[in-house]
């Protein structure tokens, strides 16, 4: 049926199911070909790209990790020299934090939040497209620099003065700082989109107390991003100014201060770790609910715990600076606040345990990942409580004890739930199931490999091994444990390789997935796998927290939307009562071009401050074209 056959004000009630599906499919479709791919604004396509890209960065970062482990396997090893080693661990850390962990969590938000709240696209879909391209450009910048032996070599937190104009020679530190700008720009854009999607586009009836916990976690994460990332933007910008035009923010000789950098960085850096962790928590809640076959115990405490973590996250940054010699009273305050965050984290663990206890757990791969998560994350959290103690931290700060802590919380606390989430949502995203038997192997290898790799690092730290050393002498007697760690990392790597193998293989030959393979309760399972380009042929209406459990046989829906333009529902913030039928923008190439223009500007500004001036002209042009109305039905009101 072509567009001309349809009356301009035709509603979805005018068509039969099948005709409606076809009509909506052509209305929301992404055209084939390169141009279509570059101009799509479909949150599912963009989310999928984000996820795949982030996992590629995990793989690349993992390869660097293996290089680190080879170098450290024996004392006085010569596999990597000092210079390469410093680039490798810096890029490993920066890549894992900025190019893998944060983006992958947002990517899941971009894909899932619109589906889980029952809408047809994310808010500001073009901004979403833009954010992906910017992210990609940032990632390529960092890795191209490493390939050209221009990789940053200053650690992932780039302390001044080492990264400053006097000691950070060449363009290495600038590359680092600009990579930050790229990734933060994209993160901020996604954060605003998610906030508005959750605030304004929830399915009618999805009042605040019915929002799925994963969506809550993405909402809190997005606010963390909005409040924390400006700090790193300010920090990296002032660093570039110091390096490029001779300002003195970090120069103590001219009234600047070295610790200012650390305050700014960690004011961002601490919330950053919860930006990674909170979405993982949301994933755990989803998986636990489905596989314990029981509504979650303590919905309200869990939501409050998310908020408490989010708020407390801004009061902890100094715990990364316990040995810089700040006043004792201040340090003790930050010990107290750091330990206090164990309370909301504990509440979450307790709620999941209670749900599992009272439910009927089904041991499928996603749940196994959750079990692995609880076992390892609690260790990492407890070592977090240890390093939160000022006197104790004076011994273990900047040692492998801390390296062990943060890999326990990052991998045990975030990557395990993430992989569980991949097994859980893969059928929805790809339309095929992953392999259950391989999945069990993946869990087992990763769990065992992980603990064997990282547990001994606690001991290494206590027996004196500092972090970020490219080698150590045989007289230190760290060789044995390091060799053990490096060999165990092989098990870990095999686990990851098996995971990637399963994920790729299943895309081609996995069992075809039904709509709701796990019998899960939330809205993303109420549409086909993978979802059609419009997500839902009719927008769902909900009357409980677990719509598919409460009404298993038919989905309540709203009718009366137009079918000549991309249309979705806008609802009120608290009780999600319908307010308007809003249009959603069409595909456009301009976000892509704007991203190119921004990339050119940001990269040239490493070399000349004037690039900011002339570089903003093409950006302005692309932005105007992006927003200028094209007279499509979406513009009617």
């Amino acid at each position: 049926m072509s567009t001309s056959d349809i009356a301009p004000d035709a509603r979805d009630t005018a068509l039969q199911e099948k005709a409606l599906a076809e009509r909506l499919a052509s209305l929301w479709a992404t055209p084939r070909g390169i141009l279509g791919a570059l101009s799509t604004v479909d949150h599912k396509i963009i989310g999928r790209r984000y996820i795949v890209t982030a996992f590629i960065f995990l793989l690349l970062g993992g390869v660097l990790a293996l290089a680190i482990r080879i170098q450290l396997a024996r004392p006085e090893n010569r596999f990597l020299g000092a210079d390469i080693y410093n680039q490798v661990f810096t890029v490993h850390g920066s890549n894992m934090m900025f190019l893998f962990a944060v983006p992958v969590m947002e990517a899941f938000g971009v894909y899932l939040v619109p589906l889980m709240v029952g809408t047809r696209n994310i808010a500001f879909p073009r901004l979403n497209a833009f954010s992906y391209w910017i992210y990609l450009a940032g990632g390529i910048t960092l890795w191209a620099a490493l390939a050209l032996d221009m990789g940053p070599d200053i650690g992932w937190f780039a302390y001044v003065p080492l990264s400053g104009p006097q000691f950070g020679a060449g363009k290495r530190a600038d590359i680092w700082a600009q990579m930050i700008t790229f990734t933060e720009l994209s993160a901020l854009a996604v954060a605003v989109e998610i906030v508005v999607t959750v605030f304004k586009q929830r399915a009618p009836g999805m009042s605040l107390d019915r929002i799925p916990l994963f969506v809550w976690s993405m909402l809190v994460t997005s606010f963390l991003i909005i409040m924390a990332m400006p700090a790193i933007m300010v920090a990296s910008t002032t660093l570039i100014l110091d390096r490029l035009v001779g300002t003195h923010f970090y120069n103590p000789a001219e009234g600047g201060d070295v610790l200012l950098w650390q305050h700014l960085f960690w004011f961002f850096g601490h919330p950053e770790v919860y930006i990674i962790f909170l979405p993982a928590v949301g994933m755990v809640s989803s998986i636990v609910t489905t596989f314990a076959r029981r509504p979650i115990v303590g919905y309200l405490p869990l939501v409050l715990a998310l908020f408490a973590t989010g708020i407390l996250a801004f009061g902890l940054w100094v715990h990364h600076m316990f040995v810089v010699g700040l006043p004792r009273v201040g340090e003790s305050f930050f010990t107290a606040s750091s330990m206090a965050i164990a309370v909301p984290n504990g509440i979450q663990i307790f709620c999941w345990l209670a749900t599992l206890w009272d439910g009927r757990p089904q041991f499928r791969t996603p749940l196994l990942f959750v079990v692995a998560f609880i076992i390892t994350f609690v260790i990492g959290g407890l070592t977090g409580v240890m390093v939160a103690s000022v006197p104790l931290d004076t011994q273990v700060h900047d040692t492998y004890f801390v390296v062990a802590h943060f890999h326990y919380v990052l991998i045990g606390g975030a990557v395990f739930p993430l992989l569980g989430a991949v097994y859980y949502w893969y059928p929805k995203i790809v339309g095929r199931m992953m392999n259950e038997r391989l999945g069990r192997w993946v869990v087992a290898l990763l769990f065992v490999g992980f603990n064997l790799t990282f547990f001994p690092m606690h001991i290494l730290g206590l027996i004196g091994m500092p972090r970020r050393v490219y080698t150590y002498g045989p007289e230190m007697h760290w060789g044995g444990l390091n060799l053990f760690v490096s060999l165990s990392a092989v098990i870990l790597a095999v686990g990851f390789v098996l995971f990637f193998y399963d994920a790729i293989r299943s895309a081609f030959s996995g069992e075809i997935a039904p709509e709701n393979p796990w019998g899960a309760p939330t809205l993303e399972w109420a549409t086909s796998s993978p979802p059609p380009s419009c997500n839902f042929e009719r927008i769902p209406v909900v009357s409980g927290s677990y719509p598919l459990w409460e009404e298993p046989h038919a989905l309540s829906v709203a009718t009366g939307l137009r079918i000549n333009r991309r249309e979705l529902l806008v609802t009120s913030i608290s009780d999600a009562s319908p307010q308007a039928r809003e249009s959603s923008p069409r595909n456009s190439i301009w976000p892509f071009l704007a991203a190119i223009a921004s990339t050119v500007m940001l990269l040239s500004s490493i070399f000349s401050p004037w690039a900011v001036v002339w570089g903003s002209v093409p950006i302005a042009v692309t932005l105007i074209m992006w927003f200028w109305p094209k007279g499509t039905p979406e513009d009617i009101s």
Partner: protein, 200 residues
């Protein structure tokens, strides 16, 4: 899954305004993040001030003239900005056209004293940390003025085309006016920091 129609939304408006509009909330989101940026820059200023043995470092406090003129212009611009918000709400195209031209001019006007503000600081960005933070504060705020003016000019052009008479455009005008209020509001603490704290 089978569908069961329980809600008819055909009578809803085809576009949400203000709190019912996603862009309105998006604007708030961006204000929140940029506001955080401004707050951080002020925090850096106060931090450096607290460390310095004397403040300003190696300079006289900035001359008050240009900054104060700019402040007055910005505060005055709130009035037509308020009118344009009202007219946009009433969807009065003619008045909105007048208003947006006025706002374009009132957006360009402060750029002139701003150009004189930088020299009035009496210190260069590369003299010391005090100069650096001053230039950064002014620079950051200037980019906000410039981007908002650019936005206003584009919108003004748009209002005189056939796309103008459209509730969506009135919504855009409202969002733009809100954002201008934000630009004015964030200037006030910066003004106090730059011009008055060193005089205390």
């Amino acid at each position: 899954m089978r569908h069961r129609a329980v809600l008819d939304v055909s009578d809803l408006p085809m576009h949400g305004l203000e709190a019912a509009s996603p862009t309105w909330w998006g604007t708030f989101g961006f204000m929140l993040l940029e506001g955080t940026g401004f707050a951080l820059v002020i925090a850096i200023y106060l931090y450096l001030l607290s460390l310095a043995p004397q403040w300003p470092i190696g300079a006289q406090p900035p001359r008050l003239g240009p900054g104060t003129i700019l402040t007055v212009i910005l505060v005055i611009s709130i009035v037509p900005n308020y009118w344009i918000l009202k007219w946009a709400r009433e969807r009065d195209l003619r008045k909105v056209r007048v208003g947006i031209v006025v706002m374009s001019l009132l957006g360009i006007a402060p750029i002139i004293p701003r150009a004189f503000e930088f020299p009035a600081l009496g210190i260069s960005w590369d003299s010391n940390a005090y100069g650096s933070i001053l230039w950064t504060m002014l620079g950051l705020h200037t980019t906000h003025i410039v981007t908002d003016v650019a936005d206003t000019l584009v919108l003004a052009a748009l209002m005189f085309t056939r796309h103008g008479d459209n509730p969506r455009r009135f919504g855009d005008v409202q969002d733009n006016a809100l954002y201008w209020n934000f630009v004015v509001l964030t200037w006030l603490p910066l003004y106090i920091c730059i011009y008055w704290l060193p005089r205390l």
